[in-house]
Symmetry: C2
DNA sequence: CGACGTGTTGATCTCTCTCAATTAGAGTGG
DNA sequence: CCACTCTAATTGAGAGAGATCAACACGTCG
């Protein structure tokens, strides 16, 4: 299984990614150490780990999480192809949160000093990293709004819509055929601060209302409008992203 | 009221800030547009505002928030002197969240293109901005863990400790005389996803247990250890963690 | 075939919310 | 100096959304 050169990165062909210059791509290529494949349910970064590096998720889904010492888990966010992983960890020397896969996944692994090198060698890429980090934060902000101030139905509606849009942006048909949905109900519960049982009942309720449908690991939107109204979400459009790859 | 040159910035004298080179300080100085003073309870950035710029909080406290259309408010985080404001907004053109003051406050206002200029003219400063942004995100992550998985007592304990430490780091005596605490109970409630009434009762309970004391806008720690234990927070560093089951 | 993971559903239980009312400043105006 | 108004803190009581407990169904897998 030979590795892909950054200049041929399949991600770049996706319409939701912006162009990079050839020089920038060379910079990234030179910082890339190797590729890494994990199976579904494996850990990429352990909480508290001290030697984590930087990654880019090329294929598959993953999630970031934190746990309390008695085992309660909070999922901080989901990672989809093109997402950057590990900026937070590189700042302190200990990983503030764990990262695990939801599906089989492929990562690009970058040198430990790449964050600085990136800034030093390409202000443009450095700027992009700041952008990606800020964007990541704003996604956490959105989740915090949900968990802090929305009830169970609203939280689930908001999550379904956001994940649907992110996933749909990565496929040709824009979600017409549904999108992959590799989360178990436990993941949904842990990302929304709900119990597994209540998550199940609420998910069921929305499905019975005909708003969506989850089957065989795929999410189908039946009434996005209604879900958006329920969640008090408006506007579409995820901002166009620049890949770090 | 004459403005302060960045090279004389009082903030830099605080022990919790790192040194910058003279050149870097010049870069920052050249991007600074002016200073801005607001009274307590005023709005710095409105949600959805399209022309917000970048700020640095020089004096006073502020907070970031989002609201649902029916008025429910979630405070995303608190801003203390030295904090950077507006990286998220600069990325989209619309402010994803509002910013308001808790006390009278003084801001440095930067040019709208400063984020890019900063990266372009000083990779070192660009790197710092990335760091700041990542750090900000990790604070939101912490809040999300609280709101999603901690009960009321634990959330309040966690908030008190974190705010105490941040504020204490800014003063000479390290908090021995207590630290400023300009939040009303409504702010505490809105930042933790609790109701005002329950916040009051819980705060009262912890105070009666002798863990802390809030009086005349100041927070005094009486038993930080116990609070930290309650919140499942550890020491100063990052928590020693067991890997996911 | 039994063990396990995931989804489902019913029956309680409880933590937190909502409603209501009171107290204590701080500020305002007559 | 005293009513009047506002904001913030406080406390009690009842209500409810969501948690916890318990079973069961179904598919996969060693």
């Amino acid at each position: 299984m030979t590795e892909v050169r950054c200049s041929r990165c399949p991600l770049r062909q996706s319409p939701s990614f912006l162009e990079n210059t050839a020089e920038d791509i060379d910079v990234v290529q030179s910082l890339k150490e190797r590729e890494l494949r994990l199976r579904a349910g494996e850990m990429l970064i352990f909480e508290g780990q001290t030697d984590a590096r930087l990654f880019t998720l090329r294929q598959g889904w993953a999630f970031r999480f934190k746990t309390l010492s008695d085992g309660r888990r909070q999922i901080l966010g989901f990672l989809l192809p093109g997402d950057f992983i590990g900026v937070q960890q590189k700042m302190a020397d200990m990983a503030a949160h764990g990262v695990a896969t939801l599906t089989d996944a492929l990562f690009c692994v970058f040198r430990r000093d790449s964050l600085w090198e990136l800034h030093r060698r390409s202000p443009r890429l450095g700027f992009d990293v700041t952008w990606l980090t800020a964007h990541e934060e704003s996604m956490v902000d959105d989740t915090l709004l949900s968990v802090g101030r929305r009830n169970a139905e609203e939280r689930i509606a908001a999550l379904l819509i956001v994940l649907f849009k992110r996933a749909a942006a990565l496929q040709e048909d824009g979600g017409a055929s549904g999108v992959p949905f590799p989360l178990t109900q436990q993941h949904v519960a842990d990302s929304l601060g709900l119990s597994l049982v209540h998550t199940n009942k609420t998910l069921r309720k929305l499905e019975l209302l005909g708003l969506h449908h989850i089957d065989e690991g795929r999410l189908h939107m039946h009434n996005g409008k209604a879900l958006a109204r329920l969640a008090d979400l408006f506007g579409d459009g995820l901002p166009p992203r620049r890949p770090l790859v």
